[in-house]
């Protein structure tokens, strides 16, 4: 039995290490370790809760803004602030744009090189690539000349001998099985996506001043003042048109490139519909309201839980059932290491007990990660695009059902293929399309409101800290691109007494709990064949299908065990 170590796992956000045992060419066990810790929640204590979002946003610069929106929602919940409709719409636009952008970048720039052999693209016949491109998409850039140009660019890089970021790839690995022509297609679209993403994200610059880390959230609304007659306002008729052009471009990109590429490549890797299935338990908080943010029935993505791959039942989400374990995490718990604590009573005292550097292996029988192990009702859960699509499908949400059934029909496959490495990739593409469609609707709502002089975008009722109760606690949630995200805040004497986040990648990448139950990554790697232990490409495929974000996942809570009202999440 051989131990494989992948550290760093590249093409992710943050610092992740995977150790796996290989037995008879297949993974017999696996351990997921986050290897970096900052302590942002400790830093937040004592600060002004109105600015918590500015700090919390820096938890992550890839899924930038997701911690900002969740933070202002938590403080608004604590202080009982309703935000105006325009603020909800602008937040939907910023978050929805983030989701589409993030998913495209993930597919083309973080994940594609696990499936696409750049070197093999040199052997392609550009005319044949052109035929394939034209058979799967209406995209304009599909001529043989265009693909020949791309091929020459790649040739130039290879001929120079300086391969830059591509120098260290596993090129020629036997698990790369695409025809050369499809490799060339994907390389071309890697470059197209690189250009598109920086153009599209200007929507964040308009509505937030910059990306990453847009700077327009406020507790009580948004700073993007609206006025139909003031050119110096942030949201004006002219800028609405600019935003509309960008979101239409996003839908076109998803329709012309992302969806056809996923549907073209997936059938060529059919085995991966049967690999990487993991836990089979799915959790979604739901989000993106078209009306009342407190009413899940108005959400684009429904709230719910599916257990054991049984899509005949959807269970309600009860946040009181969320706990975290540190049995295998480098933290101490009062009352014993094996206890599980609700986030509201959570505590974190970092205490590194692993091997000193430089080290070869972690002691996986003891503590081995900076991530905690979140559990729902004692069970490990998967969150993210697949969870959203499974919960939406099981809930009978029409748009989601149509999208999933359409893709399954195109792939000629039953719904069970969703529970796989490729299922995660397909779910991410499908929800990008749903979101890209929804974006224009929100732009239109904003335009209507502006035209009718309905310009309120901030509720000033609790801006002055003198208007606050002496103490308050609140909870904010969001469906971030990587899944269910929650922030808890406790305010006392106008400052933060305690702050904590339970983050999507903590759910997915967390280690074992006190009962020895594996986290989602660890479970998904089981039984995966690995052709070459020195080049464990197959491990990257399944881990990347979750789109890891480790900086998000490593967080710290330091509650004082104070009584806490369970937040209202129906």
């Amino acid at each position: 039995m051989a131990r494989i170590v992948v550290d760093p796992v590249s093409r992710i956000e943050g610092h992740l290490r995977i150790e796996a045992n290989l037995d008879g060419g297949k993974i017999s066990d696996a351990w997921s370790s986050g290897t970096m810790f900052r302590g942002i929640e400790m830093i937040l204590k004592g600060r002004d809760p109105r600015e918590a979002w500015i700090w919390a946003q820096r938890i992550c610069g890839v899924c930038t803004m997701v911690h900002a929106i969740t933070s202002v929602r938590a403080v608004e919940d604590a202080l009982k602030i309703e935000v105006p409709e325009n603020a909800r719409i602008v937040r939907n636009l910023i978050a929805g744009a983030q989701m589409v952008h993030d998913h495209v970048v993930h597919f083309y720039h973080l994940h594609a090189l696990d499936w696409v052999d750049v070197a093999a693209a040199l052997k392609a016949d550009p005319a044949r690539t052109s035929q394939i491109a034209q058979s799967i998409s209406d995209c304009d850039k599909s001529s043989a000349k265009y693909f020949k140009g791309v091929q020459q660019r790649v040739q130039g890089v290879v001929a120079s001998g300086q391969l830059s970021l591509f120098a260290s790839g596993y090129w020629g690995h036997p698990a790369y099985t695409l025809p050369p022509e499809v490799n060339l297609l994907a390389v071309a679209h890697y470059l197209e996506a690189l250009a598109w993403q920086k153009d599209f994200i200007r929507i964040h610059a308009v509505l937030g001043g910059k990306n990453p880390h847009p700077q327009s959230f406020l507790v009580g609304g948004m700073s993007t003042a609206m006025d139909p007659d003031e050119p110096a306002a942030v949201i004006t008729p002219e800028r609405i048109n600019f935003i509309r052009d960008l979101v239409r471009g996003a839908l076109k990109f998803v329709n012309d490139y992302y969806i056809p590429d996923v549907l073209a490549i997936a059938p060529l890797y059919k085995d991966w519909f049967g690999r990487g299935e993991g836990l089979g338990n799915f959790l979604a908080y739901g989000d993106y309201s078209s009306g009342d943010q407190s009413d899940p029935k108005t959400f684009l993505f429904p709230r719910g839980i599916v257990m054991g791959r049984d899509i005949s039942k959807v269970f309600p989400v009860d946040p009181a059932k969320i706990t975290e374990s540190v049995a295998h995490s480098w933290y101490e718990y009062s009352g014993g290491e094996n206890g599980a604590k609700h986030p509201s009573q959570g505590e974190t005292v970092p205490r590194y007990s692993g091997p000193q550097a430089p080290f070869e292996h972690l002691d996986v029988n003891a503590k081995y990660s900076w991530l905690k192990a979140p559990r729902y009702d004692g069970q490990p859960m998967e969150v993210g695009p697949l969870a959203r699509m499974v919960v939406g499908y099981a809930s009978g949400k029409k748009e989601i059902k149509d999208a999933v059934d359409g893709a399954l029909k195109a792939l000629n496959a039953p719904p069970t293929v969703l529970f796989s490495t490729l299922g995660r990739i397909a779910a991410r593409a499908l929800e990008s399309q749903l979101m890209a469609r929804a974006l224009e609707g929100w732009v239109n709502q904003l335009e209507q409101n502006l035209a009718h002089g309905k310009t309120a975008i901030f509720n000033p009722i609790r801006w002055d800290p003198d208007s606050w109760p002496s103490s308050a606690g609140g909870y904010g949630w969001h469906e971030a691109p990587r899944g269910a995200l929650g922030h808890w805040v406790e305010i006392e004497g106008k400052s933060i007494r305690n702050y904590q986040a339970v983050v999507p990648t903590t759910w997915n990448a967390g280690p074992r709990d006190a009962q020895g139950q594996r986290g989602a990554y660890e479970a998904a790697l089981l039984n995966t064949p690995v052709a070459d232990p020195n080049r464990p490409l197959e491990i990257l495929r399944t881990i990347h299908s979750f789109d890891p974000c480790i900086a998000c996942a490593v967080h710290v809570v330091d509650a004082q065990g104070r009584e806490y009202t369970i937040p209202r999440v129906a």
Binding site: P8, V9, S10, I12, E13, G14, H15, M36, R38, I40, M42, I43, R47, D48, R50, W55, R58, I59, G61, V62, R153, G156, V157, S160, G161, Q162, L163, S164, S168, L194, K198, D199, R202, A205, V206, G209, K210, N211, P212, H213, P214, S223, T224, A225, M226, D227, E230, A233, A357, P358, F359, W370, A456, F458, P460, W463, N534, P536, L540, A551
Partner: protein, 374 residues
């Protein structure tokens, strides 16, 4: 590896970059550097003839926001041109290889390119607990940074965290985090502060280095003067409203809708130096004040502790002349110190010493010095 006779110009040509595109890019970069056009020919010649230098981009206690910022470069040609100008061999978030294949790249660069390669550092470096708060490939961030930066021609620290520890280092600094110039003393370093760094400035520094084989002029924090030499307040599109006494007094009020000055909402522009209002973000689309929110002085030293609470009004703004230097702003703040406000953080930002130089444990309490009179 590259044969000596292969020039970057040939490599660019084979990648479809025309000479016209290259000249346009170099011209834009000179503009950012505030250098005259007469250097254009030299710049074009330098970037065309150079063998592509190797660059490694290291990520430590980071959020990857500075890497993402680089991918969103504001000038349309920046990402492509910079990628074409350098052999970008290690960058965890985008590189093809993982695990051993990635670690071997660092070993090879340190060995074969010793003294010639550039390092970009993103994120703070933890020093508490023997550095075990951040490990990559079983090695500590401090170990990797010491090896790679000590053997490099120069180190470019991007973002607030690599500059001075940033958010990670703010009180109570749970991990003993430091910026790279403090964690690895004695290296040649240029600091591109900001949260995130502005990729146009970083690209300009790279072009300057390729052209003149040296770093541009630096301030006392080793930040390039072209980007960090002027006060934001003096470059702000809302400055006329400040001078005329027109202020936003409540979010969403008439003044807010008309784009008036955000000083009373806590804007830190009068104390911050950065070319953010000029270079802007995401292809020159906007910047935070245009989005209706005050500046948080994200390019200033230790801004998280020194400039927060972010919504509190600055105590005093001596901004009555159009040209107010950073030094004059500092003088005004010393006056506040004399008035009894705790300002050791602010003093640190203006004192003309090379670096803040403080140690973990001596960090200021939450809620630094900016604005005690809201």
């Amino acid at each position: 590896m590259l044969s000596p006779e292969t020039t970057l110009g040939e490599a660019l040509g084979s990648r479809g970059v025309t000479r016209r595109q290259l000249v346009k890019f170099c011209s834009a970069m000179l503009g950012t550097l505030a250098m005259p056009e007469r250097y254009l020919a030299q710049t074009v010649a330098a970037v065309t003839k150079a063998r592509k230098p190797v660059l490694v981009w290291l990520q430590f206690q980071d959020c990857t926001g500075c890497s993402e910022s680089m991918l969103r470069s504001s000038h349309p040609d920046v990402a492509e041109a910079v990628l074409d100008l350098l052999s970008w061999e290690y960058h965890e978030v985008v590189m093809a290889g993982a695990g051993d294949a990635a670690n071997k790249v660092l070993e090879r660069v340190a060995r074969e390119e010793k003294g010639k390669y550039l390092v970009v550092v993103e994120g703070a470096i933890p020093t508490a607990e023997n550095g075990m708060y951040c490990t990559i490939g079983g090695r500590t961030a401090l170990d990797i940074a010491t090896q790679m930066c000590s053997n490099a021609a120069a180190t470019i620290a991007v973002g607030a965290c690599a500059f001075d520890g940033g958010l990670v280092r703010s009180s109570p600094n749970p991990t003993g985090a430091l910026g790279v110039h403090e964690a690895v003393p004695g290296i040649k370093v240029i600091n591109m502060s900001g949260c995130p760094h502005n990729p146009v400035n970083t690209a300009a520094v790279l072009v300057h280095y390729l052209t003149f084989h040296d770093l541009p002029d630096l301030d006392q924090y080793n930040r390039p003067l072209f980007a960090y030499g002027r006060v934001i307040h003096d470059q702000c599109e809302r400055r006329a409203h400040f001078d005329a006494g027109r202020f936003v007094t409540e979010w969403g009020d008439e003044g807010h809708r008309k784009g008036w000055c955000l000083y009373k909402m806590g804007c830190k522009g009068p104390e911050a130096t950065f070319n953010c209002p000029i270079v802007q973000w995401n292809d020159h689309t906007s910047w935070p004040i245009r989005a209706g929110h005050g500046c948080i002085a994200c390019a200033s030293p230790r801004f998280w502790d020194n400039m927060s609470p972010f919504y509190n009004r600055l105590p005093n703004v001596p901004g009555f002349g159009v040209e107010v230097s950073a030094g004059q702003v500092g003088t005004g703040l010393i006056g506040i110190a004399a008035a009894g406000v705790t300002v050791h953080g602010i003093l640190r930002t203006i004192r003309p010493v090379p670096y803040p130089g403080d140690q973990p444990g001596a960090d200021s309490a939450p809620g630094g010095t900016a604005g005690k009179e809201n």
